[in-house]
């Protein structure tokens, strides 16, 4: 364990950068904290409780190109035309997908334990057989500097969600505020290497994560029946804005589509975009059948995907209790009312 001054802690992103990592740091602008690529003039926010985005946005970026290929489309005076080969020209015998796997190693600086656990969840989804090659390439060699929270805000519930503890592999350096400085506990070889480059004082002993202070306490009851029966009062005022799923660090639902540019429509890109269960087209199948018809259906579905479906399919809960879906909901919809029992509030 080492003790550093704030200046040294803030040097860690540059150190990681020098070690070859792409470094993601929490930055503050207009009163909102957002993770972004580190630059020497990044205003790093070490005091945030809540961030509007999450590691997910870097490991599974929205709008990621999966590959590109050439089609036979052309623009004619009538507009866009997909030229089918036998009618008007030679037939390409194969679809040649061109792509490059994402390369480089990523480092997350000053994420919270809930963020680290959101990565653990995404791993269990994306690395289960067959592994997602794009996610795997981004995630391989990842380093995380996890900053402890002392106290959550009104929306946090990582203690009831049991996501304040850190599994092996999800924390390379643990950071704790202490006096006017910080204690750093490297937990892996990579973490040790990075920490050794800081000017620090050796300290005896070691630190282990501890639960932050919560403003509410309750137990989560979230089987499918619990969620079906749970209260959903106020769901009428849901605006279907999808802020809950956009800001959730574990939401990963996606759409895949073909995109081309009108200047050269034969150059097609297949792109993976984020999708939200709050949208109508999410569950629509041909013929117009929609499985999630009402706001209430979609609300309960979101919770089911987080809790029982994830436990069943991946053996891990999909909610890390960060509270983003509550904090950023314009309609004040609070899932704790549906799945929380025995609340002290």
């Amino acid at each position: 364990m080492i003790r550093v001054k704030v200046g040294q802690l803030l040097r860690l992103p540059s150190v990681l950068s020098e070690m070859g990592y792409r470094v993601i740091v929490p930055t503050e602008s207009n009163g909102v904290t957002k993770f972004a690529d580190f630059a020497t003039d990044s205003g790093i926010d070490l005091h945030y409780v809540r961030a509007i985005n999450a590691p997910r946005d870097f490991l599974l970026p929205d709008g990621e190109k999966l590959f590109s290929y050439r089609s036979t489309a052309t623009v004619t005076s009538y507009g866009l035309k997909i030229r089918f080969p036998t009618v008007e020209g030679p037939c390409p015998v194969t679809i040649n997908a061109e792509y490059t796997a994402p390369s480089g190693r990523i480092a997350f600086f000053a994420i919270h334990p809930c963020h680290a656990n959101s990565i653990r969840y995404l791993d269990s989804v994306m690395l289960s057989d067959p592994a997602d090659p794009y996610y795997r390439a981004r995630r391989d060699g990842m380093l995380t500097v996890v900053m402890e929270c002392e106290e959550g805000d009104d929306h946090c519930f990582c203690v009831p969600a049991e996501s304040w503890e850190l599994e092996e592999g999800y924390c390379d350096i643990l950071v704790r505020r202490s006096g006017d400085g910080f204690l750093l506990q490297p937990r892996s070889e990579a973490g040790k290497k990075a920490a050794s480059r800081l000017e620090a004082q050796e300290e005896l002993g070691s630190i282990k994560e501890r639960p932050p202070k919560m403003r509410t306490s309750f137990r989560i009851h979230a089987s499918e029946e619990d969620i079906d029966r749970g209260e959903a009062k106020g769901i009428d005022s849901c605006t279907l804005c999808a802020a809950c799923t956009v800001t959730c660090p574990t939401c990963y639902c996606s759409d895949i589509e073909d995109r081309f540019h009108l200047v050269d429509p034969s150059n097609v890109e297949r792109v993976r975009k984020r999708m939200s269960c709050q949208r109508r087209c999410y569950s629509m199948i041909a013929g117009g059948n929609i499985f999630l018809k009402t706001k209430e259906d979609r609300y309960r579905w979101r919770l089911k995907h987080k809790f029982p479906f994830s436990s069943k399919a991946f053996g891990i809960s999909g909610c890390v209790g960060c509270g983003n879906c509550i904090a950023f909901c314009p309609a004040g919809i609070d899932m704790r009312r549906t799945v929380g029992r025995g609340t002290n509030k």
Partner: protein, 272 residues
């Protein structure tokens, strides 16, 4: 990362024949280019039309031909309409086969009731052809096929060969006066084909129909683990990564299904 290891990259195939099945439906016969597909009845593929997009379709041909696949496609939107403009020689991309097939080996020797409605019959054709090829391995075969109008019926020319190997009933819910066959919904014609306990039922069609038939079959004594439904959901990835195809119970239709037995899922999970 090599292309073969990337589950998002399609393999090339060529359309070799197009057959008009009905006003809204065509069957594309696709030849796989430099590769073979080991598939089983009930599995599906993602078909990529270059420059248009991708959509999931059940393989409608016999698994004994690993160089070809038939896809029977009803026009519904972007990809499906574009597929109707395909001509022999056109190049397409195929991902898959995906999904858990019908349990053809587990039900050897059993009496089968197969019910298909609408385009659901496409998902059953592979099974039907398989059963025709392995007729002696199975007991009594009943096939009940429901559509709305006579013009909606697909595989019309093949049906007479199927009828030689199994008891085939076709019913139309909106038949014209000239129609000489059965009328009404499939649920109206379960008498005579449902034998009760010991029989295995396989259903594919609209969620509402599958749900009401499932309920009926359970009442008539079929066991939940002997009733199989093939489900349809919005699907993008086909490999459990996009979460679009989740159903109650936490199953992925693309990976764990599309075929489920009724002891695995609730009737509600079939949808409505």
């Amino acid at each position: 990362m090599k292309a073969e290891e990337n589950p998002y990259v399609p393999k090339s195939a060529t359309v070799v024949a197009v057959k008009n099945e009905s006003l809204e439906t065509k069957t594309l016969r696709i030849r796989l280019y430099n590769w073979k597909a080991e598939f089983q009845p009930g599995q599906f593929v993602q078909l990529l039309l270059p420059g248009v997009g991708e959509a999931p379709f059940c393989i409608a041909s016999s698994p004994s031909d690993q160089k070809h696949m038939d896809l029977t496609i009803i026009r519904r939107g972007l990809v499906t309409i574009a597929s109707h403009y395909m001509r022999p020689g056109d190049v397409v991309g195929i991902r898959g086969p995906f999904g858990r097939p019908f349990p053809v080996s587990r039900i050897v020797g059993k009496d089968l009731l197969i019910v298909g409605t609408g385009i659901g019959i496409a998902a059953l054709r592979s099974l039907i052809l398989f059963l025709v090829e392995h007729r002696e391995d199975y007991g009594e075969l009943n096939l009940l096929y429901g559509a709305r109008f006579p013009e909606d019926l697909v595989y019309r020319d093949e049906m007479k060969y199927w009828a030689e190997k199994m008891n085939l009933k076709v019913t139309l819910s909106k038949a014209s006066p000239e129609w000489g066959g059965l009328r009404g919904r499939v649920t109206d014609h379960l008498d005579g084909v449902v034998k009760g306990k010991g029989q295995v039922a396989i259903l594919c069609g609209s969620p509402l129909v599958m749900r009401s038939i499932s309920g009926e079959l359970l009442e008539r004594g079929l066991k939940a683990d002997q009733i199989f439904v093939s489900l349809e959901r919005h699907m993008k990835c086909g490999i459990g990564k996009c979460a679009r195809c989740l159903i109650p119970g936490g199953w992925h239709v693309c990976k764990d299904g599309p075929v489920f037995s009724l002891d695995e899922i609730s009737l509600e999970a079939i949808g409505d």
